[in-house]
C-alpha cells in the first residue's frame, strides 16, 4: 500500500481536494486555500511520490505555491497549440513576457526579497513600461522609432490581461475615492513568476529537446 493510499484512507476528502486543486489549474497558491495548502506541504512527500510513480510528473512546492511539471505529453491528438499557456501571436509579445521575468528578477535583487517572505513584490505599470522600453531599445538599437514608449505600451497591452488571466500578475484596484493614471496602476507579482524552468532557461533557444520516451 502506497503512502498516499494510507493517507487517502485516513483523510479522503482532504486528499481528494488537494489532488483536484493541483489538477484544476497550473498553479496552486497558498492564498487559494490555506488549509489545503498546509496539508499538501505537510504530506508533500506522499503527494510527490504519487505523482512521480503514477504520472511521471514532478511536484514542486515552496512556501507560497505548488505546481506540477509535466515533461511528456502522451496524447498526440492534443496539439502543441492546445498545451500553450499563452496565446502570443508575435515575437515582441514573447519578448515582453521574458522581459517581465527579467524585471521581476531585478526587483527581487533590489528589494532583497525571497520566496520565504509573506508579501509578494509589487510594482507600478509605469516602471515595467520604462524597463521594457529601455530593454527593447537595447535589443533593437537600429529601430529607435519602432520602440518608443507608446509602441511598447501597445506591445504590453495584450500581454498584461493574459498574465492576469493565468495568474502571473494581479492588478490591484485603487480605492474607490482615488483616481489613478494607467501608468500608476499597481500589479502584484504572484508566485507563478518564480516557477519557470531554470533548466530550460539555461539552454539556447533553438536547442532541440531530448527525445521523449515512448508512450507506454
Amino acid at each position: 500500500m502506497s503512502a498516499l493510499d494510507d493517507l487517502l484512507q485516513k483523510q479522503k476528502p482532504r486528499v481528494q481536494a488537494v489532488l483536484n486543486i493541483l489538477l484544476e489549474a497550473p498553479y496552486f497558491y497558498k492564498s487559494d486555500h490555506e488549509e489545503h495548502y498546509h496539508f499538501l506541504r505537510r504530506h508533500q512527500r506522499e503527494f510527490a511520490s504519487f505523482f512521480e510513480e503514477s504520472f511521471g510528473w514532478q511536484l514542486v512546492a515552496d512556501p507560497k505555491c505548488a505546481r506540477l511539471y509535466k515533461e511528456t505529453w502522451y496524447n498526440d491528438r492534443i496539439t502543441p497549440g492546445n498545451r500553450d499557456l499563452f496565446n502570443f501571436t508575435r515575437r515582441d509579445e514573447c519578448l515582453a513576457f521574458m522581459l517581465l521575468l527579467e524585471f521581476f528578477e531585478h526587483k527581487l535583487e533590489e528589494e532583497s526579497a525571497s520566496i520565504e517572505e509573506p508579501d509578494n513584490i509589487r510594482f507600478r505599470f509605469g516602471d515595467l513600461l520604462l524597463f521594457t522600453r529601455d530593454r527593447f531599445l537595447e535589443l533593437f538599437p537600429e529601430q529607435p522609432d519602432g520602440y518608443a514608449e507608446e509602441d511598447v505600451r501597445k506591445i504590453l497591452r495584450p500581454v498584461m490581461p493574459q498574465l492576469e488571466k493565468y495568474r502571473f500578475l494581479l492588478k490591484l484596484d485603487p480605492p474607490d475615492d482615488e483616481k489613478v493614471a494607467p501608468d500608476d496602476t499597481i500589479y502584484e507579482c504572484l508566485p507563478a513568476l518564480w516557477h519557470y524552468s531554470v533548466q530550460r532557461i539555461s539552454r539556447p533557444l533553438d536547442e532541440t529537446p531530448a527525445p521523449q520516451p515512448p508512450a507506454p
Binding site: P80, E93, P158, S197, R200, P204
Partner: protein, 506 residues
C-alpha cells in the same frame, strides 16, 4: 501653504542647543561642492595644528591643489570656494601689508585666512565620526560581565576580611564605589546587548553581495556558538556572588557602610555630590537582572532570535543571489536570442517547455455535438479609430437586351401563361368561370389560389396589371385534377375595362 517653523523659545532646551551656532555648517554636508569646501577647511585645520593660525592665500592654495585635481583646480575655482566659505562665516580673512622691498615690488596686499571655531568643531566631529566608522570601539559584553564578577568577588572578599567594628570610611567608600560600579556595568551590559540586537536587525534589512553575505554567515555561525554560551556561563557565575552579598550575615556590614557614607556625605554636603545607592535595593535589582529568567536572559534571547533571523535571511539571500545571478544571465541571453527571430515568429516550443504546465489549456467554453460554444469576443482596442462600415453591393445580373423585370411582374406573366394554358383567358366581351378550366395536375390548385389572391385581395390590383378582374359567385363548385379535388365558390374572370386617361396639360 508653507508650514511654519516651530517657534524657538530661549527656554526651550533644543533652542538653547542651537543658540549662537552657525547653521551654515549644514551647507557643508548638503552642497554640491562639499568635497572642495571640506578639503579647504581640513587644510586650514592642519595648518592650525602646526600652529599656523592664519595661512596665506598662496600657501593654502598649494596645500589643497594636489588633493583637488592638481592643475585642474584653478586659482579661479579656489577663489570661488574661499568666497563662499567667507560668506558662510566659516572662515575669516585679513589683509596683510608687507614692506616695500624694491621698485618692482609695489606695496602688495596679501590675504590671510583664519578658520572659525564653529568650522573647526564641525571638522573635529567629522573626524571623530570617520574614526568611529573605521575603528568602532564597541564594548564586548563578555568583558563587562567578567569585570562585574571581579567586582562582586572583590566586594565579598572585602566584607569577609573586615568586621563590623573595624569598618572605616575608606573601606565603606570602596564598597559603595564597587556597588555603583556593578550598577554601571549592568547598565552597560544592557545597552551593549540592545545595541547589538539593533545592529543584527540592521543586517537583516540590508543588501549584500554574495561574498559579504557569506562572510557574515560564517561570523554569525561562530558568534552563535561562542558569544551566547559565554554569557550564559558568566551569568551562572554572577548569580551566586550576588546571593553571597545578600546573605543575612552581611546585613550589619552593609548598614554600617551606609551609615558611614551618609555621615560623610552630610559632613561635606556642599563639596561632595555623590549619590548613594541603597545596598538592598541595588542588590535586589542586580539579582533580578541576572536571575535564570531575568532581564539578561531575555536580552540574550532577543539577540539569539535576531541572530537566527539574520542567519536565516542571509542564508536564503545568499542562495537567492547565487541562483539569481545565473537566472538573470540566462534570461538576458534567451531574450537576445529571441530578439534575433523574425517579428512574426513565436517561439512557442520554448515557452511551452519553460512553463511546462501539467494540464491541457484548451477551449474553456462549453460545447458538444449539438450546442456550439459562444465565439470569443472580438478584440477591441481602445484607441483604434472606428470607421463607418461600407457594404458594397454586387452589381445586379442583367440580361443582354431584355428589359428589366421585377419578380412580381415575372410571377404575373407566369400566371397569365398558366391561364392561357388552362383555357381561362376570357374573350373581349365575355367572362370565364374558373371552374370551366381544364386542370390536369395537382400544381393547378396552388395556381388557383394564387389567382384568387391576386384577383380578390387589395381590390384585385395585382391582377389588374394583367388587364383582368375577378369576382366571386355564390355557386359552390368542385374541380378535380390528378385524383385530387378542390372545392370553392366559383369565380368569374373578365377583362377589366381600361381606366380613363387624364386630360393632357394645357
Amino acid at each position: 501653504m508653507p508650514i511654519d517653523a516651530p517657534t524657538e523659545s530661549p527656554q526651550d532646551p533644543a533652542a538653547q542647543l542651537l543658540e549662537r551656532r552657525n547653521r551654515n555648517v549644514g551647507h557643508l554636508l548638503l552642497s554640491e561642492r562639499a568635497v572642495p569646501y571640506v578639503t579647504l577647511l581640513a587644510a586650514m585645520l592642519a595648518f592650525r595644528r602646526e600652529h599656523e593660525l592664519e595661512p596665506l592665500h598662496e600657501d593654502l592654495h598649494a596645500a589643497v591643489r594636489s588633493a583637488l585635481g592638481g592643475e585642474a583646480y584653478t586659482a579661479e575655482l579656489f577663489n570661488q570656494d574661499l568666497r563662499q566659505l567667507l560668506i558662510w562665516n566659516l572662515i575669516t580673512d585679513r589683509l596683510e601689508k608687507e614692506r616695500l622691498r624694491g621698485y618692482k615690488d609695489n606695496r602688495r596686499r596679501k590675504f590671510r585666512y583664519r578658520l572659525a571655531d564653529e568650522a573647526a568643531a564641525f571638522l573635529l566631529w567629522l573626524e571623530a565620526r570617520r574614526h568611529d566608522d573605521l575603528e568602532p570601539a564597541d564594548t564586548d559584553t563578555r568583558d563587562l560581565l567578567s569585570e562585574l564578577i571581579g567586582t562582586l568577588r572583590e566586594t565579598v572578599r572585602l566584607f569577609n576580611k573586615t568586621g563590623v567594628e573595624s569598618l572605616d570610611y575608606e573601606t565603606a567608600r570602596g564598597v559603595f564605589y564597587r556597588l555603583a560600579r556593578m550598577g554601571a556595568l549592568t547598565d552597560d551590559v544592557s545597552r551593549t546587548l540592545g545595541d547589538f540586537n539593533v545592529r543584527l536587525l540592521g543586517f537583516a534589512t540590508s543588501r549584500y553581495d554574495a561574498p559579504t553575505a557569506r562572510l557574515i554567515l560564517t561570523e554569525l555561525d561562530r558568534f552563535l556558538k561562542r558569544f551566547l554560551n559565554r554569557i550564559h556561563t558568566l551569568r551562572t557565575e554572577i548569580t551566586p556572588e550576588i546571593s553571597k552579598l545578600r546573605q543575612g550575615r552581611l546585613t550589619a556590614r552593609w548598614q554600617a557602610c551606609l551609615a558611614l557614607m551618609q555621615e560623610e556625605s552630610r559632613a561635606s554636603a556642599h563639596l561632595m555630590r555623590t549619590r548613594l545607592p541603597h545596598p538592598e535595593h541595588a542588590l535586589a535589582g542586580l539579582s533580578v537582572f541576572y536571575a535564570a529568567d531575568g532581564t539578561l536572559e531575555r536580552l540574550c534571547g532577543r539577540v539569539n532570535t535576531a541572530a537566527l533571523h539574520v542567519w536565516r535571511k542571509l542564508f536564503t539571500h545568499l542562495r537567492e543571489l547565487e541562483r539569481r545571478s545565473h537566472r538573470l544571465e540566462d534570461l538576458r541571453a534567451r531574450v537576445s536570442e529571441m530578439a534575433a527571430l523574425p517579428a512574426t515568429v513565436v517561439p512557442a516550443a520554448f515557452l511551452r517547455r519553460l512553463l511546462a504546465p501539467a494540464r491541457l489549456v484548451g477551449d474553456m467554453h462549453f460545447w458538444d455535438e449539438n450546442e456550439k460554444a459562444l465565439p470569443p469576443q472580438p478584440h477591441w482596442e481602445r484607441h483604434r479609430v472606428r470607421a463607418e462600415t461600407v457594404q458594397w453591393l454586387d452589381a445586379k445580373p442583367r440580361a443582354a437586351e431584355a428589359p428589366v423585370q421585377s419578380l412580381e411582374e415575372a410571377r404575373l406573366e407566369a400566371l397569365k401563361t398558366w391561364l392561357a394554358q388552362r383555357g381561362l383567358l376570357p374573350a373581349a366581351d365575355a367572362t370565364r368561370l374558373v371552374s370551366q378550366g381544364a386542370f390536369v395536375a395537382f400544381e393547378d390548385f396552388p395556381r388557383l389560389l394564387e389567382l384568387a389572391r391576386n384577383g380578390l385581395l387589395g381590390n384585385g390590383a395585382r391582377l389588374a396589371k394583367l388587364g383582368f378582374a375577378l369576382e366571386s359567385t355564390a355557386a359552390p363548385v368542385r374541380v378535380e385534377a390528378d385524383r385530387h379535388t378542390l372545392a370553392f365558390l366559383d369565380q368569374r374572370l373578365r377583362l377589366r375595362p381600361a381606366a380613363p386617361q387624364p386630360p393632357p396639360h394645357p
